[in-house]
């Protein structure tokens, strides 16, 4: 006979406990995880569904999202599902040890539908900044472009002199011509006078005397005019000598102006590669900073004290961590530079009490599409000084066609191809050291120059010389701290391209200088020669006119004396002066 009054209460109790362990553990665990996770990580954690089975020692989660503390509308990570197999023996000893687990559909940086902000934090991602500016190279290129574009013709002394002479000589000659014309007119007036003398009786000496005086007066002006012509001729010759000396000074001036300063090859490397690598370094720095903050926060979880009393630890030497993920398989994807990288890997030894565990956290991730990437990480918080190591190896990273530098000034277009990228970063406490290597072979470099000074010759020469470069190598040395890292960029591209650019620019500048010199020479010579010829012709003509005038005067004088009935031999002795002087 069954004593139901004894059995039923106890049976109902057992059933109640069973139901509690079966159905209540899940919601309770979900609440605990969310509450603890948000407290530790400082951002919103949401779990769509959690199923826990103590009998199977398994926990399954679906649609887990952990918000980014620095960006409320993005997730730090999210996953489609996660399954953890618990070690039941450790669970009975109040230790949560996941001996095997898997996380599927892990995504970093996905978008959120609602804000994930819990409390205002001062944690911000390291600001994106241009680490590699290459400002010296920018200034150098600006200076060079000014040299090539600027019109130096106006600065040349010889050109200026030639222009001045071109203005002055005609004016002076016109003045001289005006005086000569005036003199010629006077000679013509003597002609008219001589014509009138034909009608005058020979006894009218007054008129004849006046005529001869007029002739003498005109004749006296002639040497002065001839002297002026000669003086102008001398001045022209002196001016030509002056222009010659000015040309020499102009040549020296152009050599000075077109001298090319040496280009800092390291700075030029930053100018070419700075933009591309700044964005990559910002990405790496952001994730390292987030990882370090996350692990620091998790490390602080070990310091959580109970609400009442203190927990006494027994047997510290053999103590094990309260929470441990022995091995978790991971798969998911992340997006970088607009490309989705599916990855898979595993994580081992994750715990908030690494000193008790005695093993570092190991992370290994690999991607195969679109390119193979392997990431090996080790986070060692066992000692007093945390040590983190990260090695990334990308044997064949697809590189699209891209422009290095600045197309508005000077840039180099790189042909698409594949590159090998290897990176090692060590973080000891907050001291960061590391090296990043980049190499792309079989590249085709095409210069892209601003149209202002991109002459066909210059572009052609530059392109031919750049063909000699068939690979790009870059090394970035990393030092400093995690909050203030220093990145030193070295590359074969900068020094080689700088050398080619300097050489080609020197040629171009020399060519340009010679062009300017020739241009100035032509301008000056043309102007001076033209002037010389013009003035020489006019000068000759003027001298002929003066000579003709002189001859006319002599003839007119003879005619007057003949009209007066005196012998012509008296012209030379001039006894007529006394005879012809007024009484």
């Amino acid at each position: 006979m069954i004593r139901w009054s004894y059995v039923l209460p106890r049976l109902s109790l057992v059933v109640a406990v069973y139901l509690l362990l079966t159905f209540a553990v899940g919601p309770l665990l979900k609440w605990t995880l969310i509450h603890t996770g948000e407290t530790v990580l400082g951002s919103r954690l949401s779990i769509a569904r959690l199923r826990a089975s103590l009998w199977q020692s398994r926990v399954e989660l679906n649609q887990v999202q952990l918000a980014n503390p620095a960006d409320a509308w993005r997730n730090l990570l999210e996953c489609r599902s996660a399954t953890f197999d618990l070690d039941s023996g450790e669970l009975l000893r109040r230790r949560l040890v996941i001996h095997e687990g898997s996380i599927h559909g892990l995504i970093f940086g996905g978008e959120r539908n609602e804000s994930g902000k819990l409390v205002s934090t001062d944690s911000t991602d390291s600001s994106t900044r241009d680490r590699f500016q290459g400002n010296l190279a920018t200034e150098w290129l600006s200076g060079v472009s000014d040299k090539l574009v600027h019109d130096f013709t106006g600065n040349l002394e010889s050109v200026r002199l030639a222009r001045e002479l071109k203005r002055r000589w005609p004016v002076e000659f016109e003045q001289l011509q005006a005086e000569a014309d005036q003199w010629t007119e006077r000679v013509e007036s003597i002609r008219q006078m001589v014509k009138q003398f034909k009608d005058l009786p020979p006894s009218n000496l007054g008129y004849y005397r006046q005529g001869l005086q007029e002739i003498d007066g005109i004749r006296e002006q002639l040497p002065k005019l001839q002297n002026n012509v000669w003086r102008l001729n001398q001045q022209v010759q002196r001016d030509c000598v002056t222009i010659g000396k000015a040309k020499q000074r102009d040549a020296e001036y152009l050599r000075r102006e077109f001298r090319l300063d040496r280009l800092d090859s390291d700075n030029f490397t930053e100018y070419l590669l700075g933009n591309e690598w700044s964005s990559r370094m910002n990405f790496v720095e952001t994730w390292m900073s987030r990882g370090q903050k996350l692990l620091s926060s998790a490390g602080d979880a070990s310091q959580l004290n109970p609400s009442r009393g203190q927990n006494i630890c027994f047997n510290e030497r053999e103590r094990k961590p309260d929470l441990l993920f022995r091995s978790i398989d991971i798969d998911g994807w992340w997006r970088m530079n607009g490309i989705d990288f599916p990855f898979e890997g595993y994580l081992s030894g994750l715990t908030h009490q690494p000193k008790l565990h005695g093993q570092p956290v190991i992370i290994r991730l690999t991607t195969t599409l679109p390119t193979k990437i392997r990431i090996d990480g080790q986070l060692d918080y066992r000692g007093d000084t945390p040590v983190q190591k990260l090695v990334v190896n990308v044997p064949r990273l697809n590189q699209p066609q891209r422009l290095l530098g600045n197309a508005d000034q000077f840039g180099i277009r790189i042909s698409p191809g594949t590159a090998h990228v290897w990176c090692r970063l060590d973080l000891v406490d907050d001291q960061l050291t590391g090296k990043i290597l980049f190499r792309q072979d079989h590249v085709d470099l095409t210069p892209e120059i601003s149209g202002r000074y991109a002459t066909e010759r210059f572009t052609r020469n530059l392109r031919q010389r750049l063909r000699k470069l068939d690979n790009i190598q870059a090394v970035i040395d990393v030092t400093g701290t995690i909050n203030e890292p220093n990145w030193k960029l070295r590359s074969n591209l900068g020094p080689q391209v700088a050398g080619i650019l300097e050489h080609t620019l020197k040629e171009e500048l020399t060519c340009r200088r010679r062009q300017l010199e020739q241009q100035a020479e032509n301008l000056v010579n043309k102007s001076v020669l033209q002037l010389e010829q013009t003035i020489a012709a006019k000068q000759d003509k003027l001298m002929v006119e003066l000579q003709l005038g002189k001859q006319l005067l002599a003839r007119f004088e003879k005619q007057i004396i003949a009209r007066m009935g005196l012998p012509t031999r008296m012209l030379s002795s001039r006894p007529l002066q006394g005879l012809l002087a007024p009484k």
Partner: protein
């Protein structure tokens, strides 16, 4: 308001003590004191609660005293935590604690917590005195009109000695 509270308290009292013997009532109260003192959220409290439910002690007095002593428990921490600290840090007891802590389920009792250990010790120390004092009181306060329980009568001192 006060009248309403008194009326409901008397109602609860009459309901609580209507069918159980003074011994059941006293044990219920004593176990309730123990449960109230021990901090909750660990296996200790669950075991004590289960014991109260699994035995024939009076559940109502147990829960009532547990509630009252849960409110008073934190005030006893300055007394109980040093007791717990002393016991858990004792060198001679350390091997015992290490052994116990390595057993399955035992860590869930949180006995390594100074407040849990201290209040447990205090609760256990107060268990029998609570029972004796409350037993006397329950015997004195039984109303004559209350029904006698089916399986137990009010024992006379001579009968108690003979049963032993």
């Amino acid at each position: 308001m006060i009248g309403w509270l008194i009326k409901n308290a008397l109602h609860i009292r009459s309901f609580a003590i209507s069918r159980d013997t003074p011994r059941q009532l006293a044990w219920g109260l004593a176990l309730g004191v123990l449960l109230g003192l021990v901090p909750k959220g660990n296996l200790c409290a669950v075991v004590i609660s289960t014991f109260i439910l699994a035995t024939r002690v009076n559940f109502a007095t147990g829960m009532l005293s547990a509630t009252v002593f849960s409110l008073l428990g934190p005030f006893a921490d300055p007394l109980t935590q040093p007791i717990g600290q002393a016991l858990l840090s004792h060198n001679r007891l350390e091997p015992l604690w290490v052994y116990l802590y390595d057993l399955p389920l035992v860590p869930w009792t949180a006995f390594n917590n100074t407040a849990v250990m201290g209040n447990l010790v205090l609760g256990l120390a107060m268990l029998y005195p609570s029972y004796r004092l409350s037993l006397r009181w329950f015997r004195r306060t039984r109303f004559p009109t209350e029904k006698q329980p089916r399986n137990e009568t009010v024992a006379q001192p001579e009968e108690l000695h003979s049963r032993r």
